[in-house]
């Protein structure tokens, strides 16, 4: 059952091409469902993919896809796509738009052959709403009924056979964590692929059905090319809802507007009173020719109300299906999740507990990781370095290869790997918080804080992701439906201190602050949060004055015991990603720094590889920049050199430090000495004896300036080139001003 799986970046422009191009000959199956229905867990169980699993609304920020063997070698291979969790196919965000795009707007050749819809047995009515929309696509489907154990514990029994009859599709109960029901699901999918049967639409009542049918017929007769590329029923629904679809002609829009108004008039104002369980009578039909100038003043309102009528129709259908297939032996009552929430989200304890949890995470990462980190550093500076010397020669005896390998690659990669325990501990703790369901509560607790910035509470989730890495955080900003909010969030995310910066804090804090290193690192996180708030407030006042208020409507998953497999998968995936990115960057940067350090500049004596770093091209560049930082107390070329490579990636900062210090005396007999004393000497000399304020200023600059080149690329994707340029300039200006402030004030106090 297991096979390989790959991931493709999700974008609103879509990369659905990967669905078809890379899996020629395979049947395309899409996995669709509400957030927190076990969709990603099922995907992992079916494909063995290293996809992130967690109960965090809107968390799935990438489309994952993999191959799924549904039977023996003779069975049709299946390319399974895990689409982002969504409550509806009426898009409000790029995430949701992508799901709709991949399901209906790709033409028959690009659409999936089959959809597997996950339905949460414990929240069936709400999940059936999405199923009603998916059925509008007409694509054959199989239902995977998840969370049956949770439902049973709450006294909810779902009859799969009755549900299958009611929804007119195969229903297979599955428990992906326990790998139960997977073979039955595979058999159902195999059968459905062998004998594909278009899925019948949900019956939304005579009035809606008549209206939709009339509009679908009109599309088929007047715009056959539109009908050929997408399901006619879906197209009619989109027009009635007033979706801004590019294929809609003026005639179709006009016809839809007339029908939408008639439907709303017949139905009454939706959502404002308890709907009649008996559907209304069919409404009068009109054709565009009868209303050649149908552009009523309240057309948008008619479309909005018609959309609500369709939504109520889907819920009426969902209620009928629910009544036919679900038996509840207990009413809604307070659960232990509610009792925990009373403490964790309380107005008195919620925020202090949230801050306490974050402090504990970062304290644990710095304190627990220290011995392991020290051990690894000794291992690389001892046996590994000796082995490298044996293999390529001693750099003390000259030659470019020993210098590059021993002083560059071994030292740089060794420094990077020594941070693996720290990163692993942090990723484990973050995975535990995420899988337990706490992160969604943190968004609720932080809602007021986010509103200060003009952002909804959901923005807290991408910001938290940013503490791991800014790049996925920028992608996660797509969970916000309002464009202005996304732009604002995209500009403040770089001020969230990422894990790559943590490695530098830990090193510097360890060297300069000893036993208080954990607290200093934590304070950098507090400062990062303050910066996010202040910059958000400032940007809101200057650039985003017109941003609308976004309501907080956030489903909270029940608290769950994280599984060892889930935590291990998440940790490994993040760690591997960090090492892949950082490893490549470190090797490239180390080589580039070595190359620039080997080229003599100015009065530097000696040929290629025979010059000291101070007299090399790299040293010249760093020395040229260094005076900019004089007021901040670290106007010294070693410091500016690390900041130059830190602009490329923070993962390269430490390796550059190691490289510049270890190779600086290459022409005078290099000694691979400890970094700590050299760093102390550098900052003491550059700051005129005010070492502590200078180091703090350096750390503050590191926190606030451009995170890395990848972040710039991600920002450009999310907020555009112009705002990215503004954002970069802002980061550099803020970083410099803060560093100067910290050093000048610190020097006065000291």
């Amino acid at each position: 059952m297991l096979d390989s799986a790959r991931r493709t970046p999700k974008s609103c422009c879509g990369d659905g091409s990967s669905l078809t191009a890379s899996d020629a000959g395979a049947a395309r199956v899409a996995l669709v469902g509400n957030p927190n229905t076990g969709k990603s867990t099922l995907f992992n169980a079916l494909t063995g993919a290293r996809q992130r699993v967690g109960n965090w609304p809107g968390k799935t920020v990438e489309v994952a896809w993999g191959s799924w063997r549904t039977g023996d070698a003779a069975a049709t291979p299946v390319a399974l796509v895990d689409l982002p969790g969504t409550y509806s196919l009426v898009p409000r965000s790029p995430d949701e738009a992508l799901t709709r795009d991949l399901l209906v707007d790709r033409g028959a050749e690009g659409r999936p052959h089959l959809i597997v819809v996950t339905l949460d047995a414990a929240n069936l009515a709400r999940n059936l709403y999405l199923l009603a929309q998916v059925k509008d696509t007409g694509i054959p489907l199989v239902v995977a009924l998840t969370m049956t154990d949770t439902a049973a514990a709450r006294g909810i029994e779902v009859d799969p056979r009755a549900l299958s009859e009611a929804v007119d599709a195969p229903v297979i109960p599955v428990l992906p964590r326990e790998r139960e029901g997977l073979d039955a699901l595979a058999a159902a999918v195999r059968e459905a692929l062998a004998d594909p049967r278009p899925c019948p639409a949900a019956d939304l009542g005579p009035a809606v059905e008549e209206t939709v049918r009339g509009l679908a017929d009109l599309i088929g007769s007047e715009e056959p090319e539109v009908a050929a590329l997408r399901p006619a029923r879906w197209a009619a629904m989109s027009l009635l809802s007033g979706d801004e679809v590019p294929w809609a002609t003026a005639g179709l829009r006009a016809a839809a507007a007339v029908r939408a108004r008639a439907l709303v008039t017949e139905h009454g104002m939706p959502g404002t009173e308890v709907p009649d369980s008996e559907p209304a009578a069919p409404c009068a039909q009109s054709s565009p020719s009868e209303h050649p100038h149908a552009e009523p003043p309240h057309e948008a309102a008619d479309f909005e109300d018609a959309e609500l009528v369709l939504a109520e129709g889907r819920y009426l259908w969902a209620r009928h299906v629910h009544a036919a297939s679900v038996h509840c032996s207990a009413g809604s009552r307070a659960t232990w999740t509610d009792r925990i929430d009373r403490v964790l989200t309380s107005r008195w304890t919620g925020l202090p507990l949230c801050l306490g949890v974050m402090w504990a995470v970062f304290q644990a990462t710095t304190t627990c990781a220290k011995p392991l980190q020290d051990g690894l550093q000794e291992f690389f500076s001892g046996p590994v370095t000796s082995l490298a010397v044996e293999l390529v020669g001693d750099p003390d005896h000259g030659g470019w290869l020993p210098g590059l390998v021993v002083n560059g690659l071994v030292s740089g990669v060794g420094q990077l790997l020594s941070f693996v325990p720290l990163m692993a501990i942090m990723y484990v703790l973050l995975a535990l918080l995420e899988d337990s369901g706490y992160f969604a509560r943190a968004a609720f607790v932080a809602d007021r804080l986010m509103r200060l910035l003009g952002l909804p509470g959901q923005a807290f989730l991408p910001l938290i992701v940013g503490f791991g890495c800014n790049v996925p955080a920028l992608s996660a900003s797509r969970v916000l439906s309002n464009r202005q909010h996304r732009l604002l969030l995209g500009m403040v995310i770089p001020f969230v201190t990422c894990s790559a910066r943590l490695t530098v804090y830990v090193l510097l804090a360890g060297v300069f602050f000893g036993s208080s290193a954990g607290t200093v690192a934590f304070l950098m996180y507090v400062l990062s949060i303050v910066l996010v708030v202040v910059m958000g407030l400032a940007l809101r006042r200057v650039l985003f004055r017109d941003s609308a208020r976004e309501p907080l409507i956030l489903e909270l998953p029940p608290y769950r015991m994280p599984t060892l497999r889930g935590v291990a998968l998440q940790t490994w995936q993040k760690l591997a990603g960090f090492l892949r990115t950082a490893g490549g960057i470190v090797v490239v940067t180390v080589t580039a720094v070595w190359l620039l350090s080997s080229v003599p500049a100015g009065s530097g004596r000696g040929g290629f590889g025979g010059v000291s770093v101070a007299q090399s091209l790299f040293g010249a560049v760093a020395r040229f920049i260094a005076p900019v930082f004089s007021w901040a107390g670290f106007g010294e070329w070693h410091a500016s050199a690390t900041l130059v490579t830190g602009f490329v990636a923070k993962e390269a900062v430490i390796s550059t430090m190691v490289q510049t210090y270890q190779t600086q005396d290459a022409d005078g007999g290099a000694q691979a000495s400890a970094l700590g004393p050299q760093l102390r000497a550098t900052f003491e000399q550059a700051s005129g004896g005010h070492t502590v304020p200078a180091v703090l200023a350096f750390m503050v600059f590191l926190l606030a300036y451009t995170p890395c080149m990848t972040t710039i690329a991600a920002q450009r994707t999310e907020i555009g080139g112009r705002l990215t340029a503004v954002s970069m300039g802002l980061q550099l200006a803020v970083a410099w001003a803060l560093a100067v402030l910290v050093f000048q004030v610190g020097s006065l106090i000291a």
Binding site: R92, E304, Y315, T337, T345, R347, F444, D447, P551, L556
Partner: protein, 76 residues
């Protein structure tokens, strides 16, 4: 009749109407906040929002949204 924001914690409620802007109303509908739905406030958050039980789902709403939901108390 009262708004959800004014409702005491723990009391069973029935949703009468949703009087918010249409986009917000549709999202609430999609999440199951349809007129007639049984609700219960399970907690008030640190920032004035509410935690609401509807069926077995729990949803966090900010205070402005909660003020747009009209409810009435029902018997348990």
């Amino acid at each position: 009749m009262m708004t959800l924001l004014e409702s005491p914690v723990g009391r069973p409620l029935a949703l009468l109407s949703v009087e918010t802007d249409p986009r917000c109303r549709l999202r609430l509908l999609e999440l199951g906040f349809v007129p007639g739905a049984a609700l219960r406030v399970v907690g008030r958050g640190a920032t004035g929002g509410l935690l609401v039980a509807h069926g077995d789902a729990r949803t966090a709403l900010d205070s402005a949204t909660a003020a747009g939901l009209r409810v009435e108390a029902i018997r348990a």
